[in-house]
């Protein structure tokens, strides 16, 4: 794909992420709600790790901590060897909710990162490339309220990708897409990740998606989230849905999630 090639001009290689004994809790009207319990996770540079876990177990919270939006109550997070003390454009998040800025056009939304860092003037072409990548060229001047849910989610993805991150943090980025677009975006994500070599941390509810994309699947327990198991997946890319090995892995992961009886 032309756009993919264009976005890879200046390849930012992935950097390692280390999560060391991270615990977190929220205070809900004075009573603490433990959400993360002693999470230890190492992600190698350029690795694609998927997090699976029951709803409300703390996956999004973990991603917020990795992004540096909140400090963990206990433990440390190291990115590229340095402690994470705040957000940084090398670690970009695609949130569960697209949350586009309603007063900016799609193009304006995608350029936010470049604009915030003063790079828009010199690198404006990357905005168009990112839009083409997610299939939104032609909608550059449209306002978010004129987009469908899936288009908004794709715009949010473009807004992250345009920054050429070293770590791409994805919180169910394809959850709102129709199944056809989701399939296309899944293979786009894989090819993008392969070309650019960024490190990726993906939260998803879709076991098949986790197995298709990730080289390692981390299964979390109920809240407070602990790491229950890790399933390595060394199948070569591009992977095929019909692969029998994939079906085996899927069975394994589902049983880890407590769904073995029905499957």
């Amino acid at each position: 794909m032309v756009a993919v090639a264009a976005l890879t001009e200046d390849t930012a290689a992935g950097a390692p992420l280390a999560i060391r004994g991270v615990s977190h809790e929220f205070d809900i009207e004075g009573t603490p709600l433990p959400v993360l319990d002693d999470i230890d996770l190492d992600v190698a540079p350029g690795e694609f790790v998927a997090l699976l876990g029951p709803s409300g177990c703390g996956k999004s919270t973990l991603l917020r901590l990795v992004a540096g939006l909140e400090p963990p109550r206990a433990g440390r997070i190291l990115f590229d060897g340095a402690p994470v003390l705040g957000p940084h454009p090398s670690r970009v998040v695609v949130f569960q909710d697209p949350t586009l800025y309603p007063w900016r056009t799609v193009e304006g939304n995608v350029s936010v990162g470049l604009e915030a860092r003063g790079l828009l003037r010199s690198q404006r072409h990357r905005v168009g490339d990112a839009l083409r990548l997610v299939g939104l060229d032609g909608f550059a001047r449209v306002y978010p309220h004129q987009l469908s849910g899936g288009m908004a989610q794709r715009a949010a993805l473009a807004r992250a990708l345009v920054n050429d991150p070293q770590l791409l943090i994805l919180d169910e980025p394809l959850g709102k897409l129709d199944s056809l677009t989701r399939l296309t975006m899944q293979s786009e994500l894989v090819s993008l990740w392969q070309r650019k070599g960024f490190t990726a941390l993906l939260v998803t509810h879709d076991v098949e998606e986790a197995l298709l994309l990730a080289s390692r699947v981390v299964v979390l327990s109920d809240r407070p989230a602990r790491i229950k198991a890790e399933v390595a997946n060394d199948l070569p890319y591009p992977r095929h849905r019909g692969d029998p090995r994939l079906a085996e892995l899927r069975h394994e992961v589902l049983s880890l999630l407590g769904l073995d009886a029905t499957w």
Partner: protein
């Protein structure tokens, strides 16, 4: 591009479906109504002596003729035709109202006379007293513009700073809570002896009346910004300056405009009172002066001018909002 959304209000649909009569007939009916109003005004005998009756009747007739002419032009100009078609029932209603007014005043004096002048008396004021009226408009306009702009800017800056900074909120919020609800007119006696001129005092009062609602609404707008907007901008490398100017302020804009509308209403009220009590110029003063001389027609003339000016300014503000907030859906039309 499939991005066009239909932004028609239900009311527009209703008006459209009710108005399926051939448009020229409707416009011609409106024109005839105005011509009829002119004829009645001219032909019926009057109780008093109104020097401008003929001129006024001619004006009505001219409007009637212009409407008929526009109806003919409308056959080749579809946009004009549409506007005329929609407004012709209202135009008929206005002609009827003007005729009733004419009948109950000049023609039959059903309403007590010096207090309810006929329309031609008001036309007389516009034609004979326009220098004084024009000067009053000019004065009021300047006073309002100065005070409103100062107040809006000060209120906006105050609102953004207390919405953004805890320290600013700590110090400014109590002041705003204590002083804000006080009607700006209550400051009037003090303002007029503290300020060097009545003009600067009035500017201050108008600014105060405008600034308070703008500050409160800007503040609430900034405070209610979806925190995810900040999270996203921060992960993309935004610094506080960007967060304030490019996230908080645009997100708060719909609130700011509510404040600007409220401030405009408040500023009109203060302006009129200040002109009546202190400044010896402007439309408020003109009203006061007309009352002193029992010149009731002049009062009505000033009221009409005020209504037109106020409505025009509100329209202007709506236009500005529609431009700046084009990204919002479901905006109320003025």
């Amino acid at each position: 591009m499939t991005s066009e959304t239909i932004r028609e209000e239900p009311a527009a649909y209703l008006a459209g479906s009710a108005a399926r009569a051939p448009s020229f007939a409707r416009v011609a009916a409106a024109g005839l109504a105005w011509l009829g109003a002119g004829a009645l005004t001219y032909l019926l005998p009057e109780q008093g002596d109104w020097p401008y009756t003929a001129a006024y009747a001619a004006l009505l007739a001219a409007i009637g003729l212009a409407l008929i002419l526009a109806g003919i032009l409308g056959r080749v100009l579809p946009r004009l035709d549409e506007r005329l078609r929609v407004s012709s029932p209202r135009l008929v209603a206005v002609a009827v109202l003007l005729t009733v007014w004419q009948l109950v005043t000049a023609k039959y004096e059903i309403l007590p006379m010096p207090f309810f002048p006929p329309p031609q008396a008001i036309l007389e004021v516009f034609l004979d007293d326009w220098p004084k009226l024009g000067e009053s408009i000019w004065h009021s306009g300047w006073l309002l513009a100065g005070g409103y702009v100062i107040g809006a800017v000060a209120g906006f800056l105050t609102g953004v700073s207390i919405g953004w900074s805890r320290a600013a909120a700590y110090w400014v919020h109590p002041v705003l809570r204590f002083v804000g609800p006080l009607p700006a007119t209550a400051w009037l006696p003090i303002a007029f002896f503290v300020f060097p001129s009545s003009w600067s005092a009035s500017t201050f009062l108008v600014a105060l009346a405008t600034g308070f609602p703008v500050a409160i609404l800007t503040w609430s707008g900034v405070a209610s910004v979806n925190s995810a907007y900040y999270d996203i901008a921060r992960t993309l490398g935004a610094r506080p300056r960007f967060l304030i100017l490019r996230v908080a302020v645009p997100a708060a804009m719909p609130h700011v405009f509510v404040g600007l509308f409220m401030g405009m209403g408040a500023s009109f009220a203060v302006l009129v009172v200040a002109e009546m009590l202190g400044v010896k110029a402007g439309l408020g003063w003109y009203l006061q002066w007309a009352q002193g001389w029992a010149a009731y027609a002049n009062m009505y003339a000033a009221l009409i001018v005020m209504a037109l000016a106020a409505s025009g300014l509100i329209t202007l503000l709506f236009r500005l909002r529609d431009r700046l907030l084009a990204w919002q859906k479901g905006l109320v039309r003025w």
